[in-house]
Amino acid sequence: MFFLINLLEILLPLLYFFAIWAYAKAFFSGVKFAEDLKSILLRVVLGAHALYIILRATLLHHPPITSVFEILSLIAFTVVLVYAYIEFRTKNSATGYFILILPFFFQLISSLFIKEVPNVPPMLQSNLLGFHVSSAFLGYAAITISAVYGFLYLMLYHDIKSKQFGVIYKRLPNLETLERMSLTAAIFGFVLLTIAIIVGIIWLPRVFENFDYSDPKLFGTAAIWLIYAAGLVAKKVGGFQGRQMMVLSVAGFVVALLSITIINMFFTEFHKFY
């Protein structure tokens, strides 16, 4: 079975590459063969990656979060999972190229450098932590996808307003669909981040005896949660529409990215396990 894990580590970047190729070919050239192939390849990638994650978790007896490279693979999987859900829900597969580039690079780096961690700290073997991390990553993946759709919306919006009718105008779905895709992803992300925060609040005091709720990481996470909550309220109550919502989605993602990067690098210790 370990052979299968090693094989999937080689196969996954290749599968991602072929899927991206099919999505790119369909988007830029409208080739029918690629149109038919891309969704099949997405299912293959998703299935193979799910198998890889399950094999790692069961054969190595811990959630796949014990090294940066395991986490990169998990992020790649969550992004693809959320994208596949949105593609299935909206029945629109034109944007896959823009989304799948990110998980391809994550999985490539993971496959190139991943090694087994000989002594996994006991706290990283907790299933509750696995659930916390999985939901957090799914949430971040969803808000990333929401931002990508927001960005695509702004590109198309700009092209229509400035009367540029190139490949973006021709191939992207209409503005209303892009807005709906971004909003679906944002709601999905918000719900999962909420779950991750609740599970984290339950789990953290059990593991860290001197746990301090004033940790900057918690403030950062709360700030991100509040931004998305405010955005969704603005949509529901304040009548935010179209471009305004998409700017908020992109801005929310940028804040989340900066918050996670800066706080992880300079301020907090308790989320560093390796």
Binding site: K32, L156, K163, L175, G242
Partner: protein, 424 residues
């Protein structure tokens, strides 16, 4: 191949000539019936505003002459002053290729025209109904319709708007997902407004609101497309209840200003508003495009879209020609096999007759067990003897000096004394 195409189109003749050899459905029916009476076994006429083409297949034993353009004009009972150069006559496989080009839309005045396929289908159905199609034209037209479908599904030859109304509807569809939930305000009740309404209707627009200086004309459109009528001076008060504004009216001054639109957008909670100004001079302040969530476009924008789409269609011609070549090869192979199949069948039959006759004569020399072996052996010998000539006859040759299929069939029939009445 006993196939020919006699035609006239937008490249060979001016409109004043073409319109005089255009056949209505009744005239088409009458002409096909006349040609049938004259001994033409298979014929189909396709007549559109840009072309009239008669496809004819005459049985080689028939004495009926292939119609000329003068016959076509006479059958139309037209007094047109036509010349030889206005018409073309295309023989044999070239006629099939031409029909495939027409069906795919690459021979149309507007490249990728979607109407032509239906017009060919109508002409073919009429001839079928009158019993004036046979194996050749049935196969040819079925394949031509298949070429048309393939060209439209496998390439972008018919993609993109190439008229003002269509471009306006297409632009609107790039902003809203489901037009059935949207309302369009149409200002002006002239021909441009009507055409745009038709395109929006074909995209399942939810509802229409019409406004025009002359209310009765707006009411006429409301009856035709459904929807309600408002007074022209009231359009600003209805901007919060519509999603698309199309202005196709003549006005010396702006009927909607930037300030009015900014105010309307606030009232409609910033929901997107598409404005398409088809007027020249423009009737809506172009400054509207600076307002967020308002998408303002004018005639220049639509022309730009049309130009791009036409260029894209032209770029698709090579892919369509590839499809035509594939289908033409299939058609040619089918036709060739149809030419040689009876001869092959007769030849096989003759060899089998010789085999069984000789076997019968000498059967008593062999035991029952040996007779079975002999049966198998003689069959195998006959098959091996016939294999090479049959294969060569079916496959033909690309060499210039190679005999034609007809010549080969004649030679074979002569050499083996096959009955000539069995030929196709």
């Amino acid at each position: 191949m006993n196939l020919s195409c006699l035609g006239i189109n937008h490249r060979t003749a001016p409109l004043e000539v073409r319109e005089k050899v255009w056949f209505s459905s009744d005239e088409n029916r009458e002409m096909i019936a006349t040609l049938k009476e004259r001994g033409i076994s298979e014929c189909v006429l396709a007549s559109t505003c840009n072309r009239t083409e008669l496809y004819v297949s005459v049985d080689e034993h028939s004495k009926a002459p292939v119609p000329s353009w003068k016959d076509l004009v006479a059958l139309k009972k037209s007094n047109v002053e036509a010349q030889d150069s206005h018409f073309y006559s295309i023989p044999s496989l070239h006629a099939a290729r031409h029909l495939f080009s027409v069906a795919s839309g690459i021979d149309s005045m507007v490249i990728g025209d979607v109407q032509i396929l239906n017009q060919i289908k109508d002409g073919f159905s009429l001839s079928q109904e009158l019993g004036c199609t046979g194996p050749l034209l049935n196969r040819l037209f079925a394949q031509a319709l298949h070429v048309g479908k393939r060209a439209r599904t496998e390439t972008e030859i018919g993609e993109g708007a190439v008229s003002m109304g269509y471009a306006a509807a297409e632009l609107t569809s790039k902003i809203f997902d489901d037009l059935s939930k949207r309302t369009a305000l149409l200002i002006g009740a002239g021909e441009t407004g009507k055409l745009t309404a038709q395109h929006l209707e074909s995209r399942n627009i939810g509802s229409f609101v019409f406004a025009n200086r002359t209310r009765t004309r707006a009411e006429g459109l409301a009856r035709r497309f459904g929807g309600r009528v408002i007074e022209l001076q009231d359009i600003t008060t209805h901007l919060n209840s519509v999603d698309i504004v199309i202005s196709a009216i003549d006005s010396p001054e702006y009927i909607l200003t930037t300030a009015q639109l900014r105010h309307a957008l606030k009232q409609r909670s910033n929901m997107s508003l598409v404005i398409i100004d088809l007027g020249v001079p423009r009737t809506i302040d172009p400054g509207a495009n600076t307002i967020g969530n308002i998408f303002f476009h004018d005639v220049d924008t639509l022309n730009h879209i049309i130009d791009r789409n036409l260029a894209n269609r032209v770029a698709q011609i090579r892919s369509v020609e590839q499809i035509i070549l594939e289908e033409l090869t299939l058609f040619h192979n089918w036709h060739r096999s149809r030419e040689v199949t009876p001869t092959i069948q007769e030849l096989s039959k003759q060899f089998e007759a010789i085999r069984t006759s000789e076997l019968e004569k000498h059967r008593h020399h062999f035991s029952t067990e040996k007779q079975e072996e002999l049966e198998l052996l003689t069959k195998r010998i006959v098959n091996k003897i016939l294999h090479t000539p049959i294969t060569n006859l079916k496959n033909g040759s690309n060499a210039d000096d190679a005999p034609t299929v007809g010549e080969k069939v004649s030679l074979l029939r002569h050499l083996f004394g096959l009955d000539r009445n069995g030929t196709e």
